[in-house]
């Protein structure tokens, strides 16, 4: 059985085969989607959701806190980015900064109430707060544009020093999103294997033990929630740029459920790479099954049910098991007999 807290053979070094494969795939994605007759926008969507799902799994898989309202922070990032462009100035870095800050503050505030909780109470409270944000986005018409959403959000050009790069073209914008996704994934790989990340995993394994070893569990849970909300904010800002708009839909319970489903199907509970597999599977299912039948979500849902029943470790668990089958069988363990 593979496990999130297994110690990677190369420590926290990012120079590993799966990382290389992931980066190659990121670079190759625009060519792959073109080759299979899909559109560039799909690659952008996938990269954005990878950022969202990976940040989410820091909380969900690694810390063991099951938030079902994380769509809210995706939406807050999207709105913050749009509002910054409309009301402050047209600026890429300014907008991204505003989105990160807004999601961090919102997440930090909600985490004040959630960090005392565990299990079902944590989950229910996270849903409640998610719904509050979603409802506000519909009702605060003057700020968010209500159900019509915030329209006409521009894609400001990327400025580094004197050089300027327009991001209006989807292929160039993909390059930008993919670069951020690569940074996020490399960064998270370091984080989960750092002392910081090991403490989060310790809290998942045994909150009481962590407390008696001397960790202020409340503060760590607060941090994990706030950090993962901030990643959601980044993904949200990119989503606003991608769609040129922000809608209340992004914040809905549906989106919050979607990211949970992706992480579970992909195997985020047992493997760092799980969420990425889950995101890929979802979007490929949408494109491939969606091309065949309008009821593709039904089939995807059924697949989810089967997955949870027969292989709860998800896709990553499936791959892990297959790999072990190839490996030589370890010598039989000496069974201790007790008199």
């Amino acid at each position: 059985m593979i496990n999130l807290s297994d110690i990677p053979p190369k420590g926290g070094s990012p120079f590993i085969l799966p990382m290389a494969a992931f980066l190659v795939l990121l670079v190759a994605a625009p060519f792959l989607v073109a080759r299979f007759g899909l559109y560039h926008y799909l690659a952008i969507e996938i990269a954005i959701w990878i950022i969202f799902a990976m940040g989410f799994n820091l909380l969900f898989g690694y810390t063991g806190l099951h938030s079902f309202g994380h769509g809210a922070y995706l939406g807050i990032g999207a709105y913050a980015f749009g509002l910054f462009q409309h009301n402050v100035s047209i600026s890429l870095w300014g907008g991204l900064g505003a989105a990160l800050l807004a999601a961090m503050v919102a997440g930090g505030f909600v985490a004040l109430f959630l960090s005392h909780r565990r299990g079902i109470y944590f989950a229910l409270l996270s849903i409640a707060f998610g719904q509050i944000f979603w409802f506000s986005s519909i009702k605060l018409h003057r700020i968010t544009g209500g159900e019509d959403g915030l329209l006409g959000i521009p894609r400001p050009p990327l400025q580094i020093g004197d050089a300027t790069l327009a991001l209006a073209d989807n292929r160039i914008f993909y390059g930008f999103v993919a670069a951020l996704a690569a940074l996020v994934v490399i960064g998270l790989w370091r984080v989960v294997n750092s002392p910081f990340g090991r403490v989060l995993q310790a809290i998942r394994q045994n909150e009481m033990r962590a407390r008696f070893v001397g960790y202020d569990v409340w503060r760590w849970k607060w941090l994990a929630f706030t950090i993962s909300a901030t990643f959601a904010g980044l993904a949200g800002a990119l989503l606003a740029m991608a769609q040129n708009s922000a809608y209340p839909d992004v914040m809905s319970l549906h989106q919050s459920g979607l990211v949970v489903m992706m992480v579970l199907v992909g195997g985020g509970l047992v493997n760092f790479w799980g969420p990425i597999l889950g995101v890929l599977l979802y979007f490929l299912a949408r494109e491939v099954l969606g091309g065949l039948t309008e009821t593709w979500l039904l089939w995807y849902g059924l697949m989810f049910v089967v997955m949870v029943m027969v292989r709860p470790e998800g896709l990553a668990g499936l791959i892990g098991t297959a790999r072990r089958r190839e490996a030589p069988v370890p010598p039989a363990r000496i069974v201790e007999t007790t008199p």
Binding site: S5, P195, Q201, A202, F212, D216
Partner: protein, 247 residues
């Protein structure tokens, strides 16, 4: 010198008074035993002393400081470590990480969000040294789940020791152990007593009387008597109870 002094501790859950009046002092460098029949309130008493529950009344002074009502992580950082009767380990990881997480040198690094805990040789060596004390150095890189019951008990103690505490509380360390493992544990505690102040709850009277410098007997939520093992053997309360025959 009295390192740890609890005075007049009281605890009730709802209408039920579990601890009426617990007063006990632990001298530095000694092994202090707590015994008493089932349901006497021994474990609740431990929970109060280590911060799992806050007392309703009374004071707990450790090294000159009142710690009653402080949260467990603050108490742990002051130098009070404990093991649990029902084992409480980090099960998804390897043995050494259980100890590593408790090392003060590791805790000082947890703010380093991009650091690498398992690349630091000095930390690993420090953790191995602690495992060596309890005889688990060879299983350092095994899965925690794969340890035998007796070794899990030893790991419980190692985690408590890793925190470099001034006082170690052990909650029924022999519970579930066979004769051989109990003997090994007694030898371990004898080795540890030169370095730590130890307080232990124990059912196994032979084990406790052989190790403890002083023993507090808890019954009906109170300390009914206290003394050296020899004094307790002569005590009429203890003599009248079934405790004596067990020794």
């Amino acid at each position: 010198m009295t390192l740890f002094q609890a005075t007049g501790l009281q605890k009730r859950f709802g209408a039920r008074v579990v601890l009426e009046n617990i007063t006990l002092g632990i001298e530095e460098g000694t092994v202090h035993g707590i015994m008493g029949p089932n349901g006497a309130g021994k474990t609740t008493c431990f929970h109060l002393l280590t911060g799992h529950h806050a007392p309703d009344a009374g004071s707990i002074v450790f090294a000159g400081r009142n710690i009653a009502g402080l949260p467990p992580h603050r108490i742990a950082r002051l130098g009070i470590a404990r093991s649990f009767q029902i084992m409480n380990l980090f099960d998804d990881t390897v043995v050494i990480e259980n100890v590593l997480l408790a090392l003060p040198a590791f805790k000082a690094q947890t703010g380093r969000i991009f650091g690498n805990g398992f690349a630091d040789r000095t930390l690993i060596d420090a953790a191995l040294a602690v495992l060596d004390m309890v005889g688990l150095a060879d299983s350092a890189w095994s899965k925690t789940k794969s340890l035998s019951y007796g070794n899990r008990r030893a790991l419980e103690i190692a985690v408590a020791l890793a925190a470099e505490p001034r006082i170690v509380f052990l909650d029924e360390p022999t519970s579930g152990l066979g004769v051989e493992a109990t003997r090994a544990l007694a030898a371990l505690i004898r080795r540890l007593r030169t370095r730590y102040t130890i307080c232990l709850i124990e059912h196994d009277m032979r084990f406790l009387f052989g190790l403890a410098d002083r023993i507090s007997v808890i019954h009906w939520g109170q300390v009914i008597t206290e003394g050296t093992p020899a004094e307790l053997m002569a005590n009429k309360w203890v003599a009248r109870s079934s405790l004596r025959e067990a020794v």
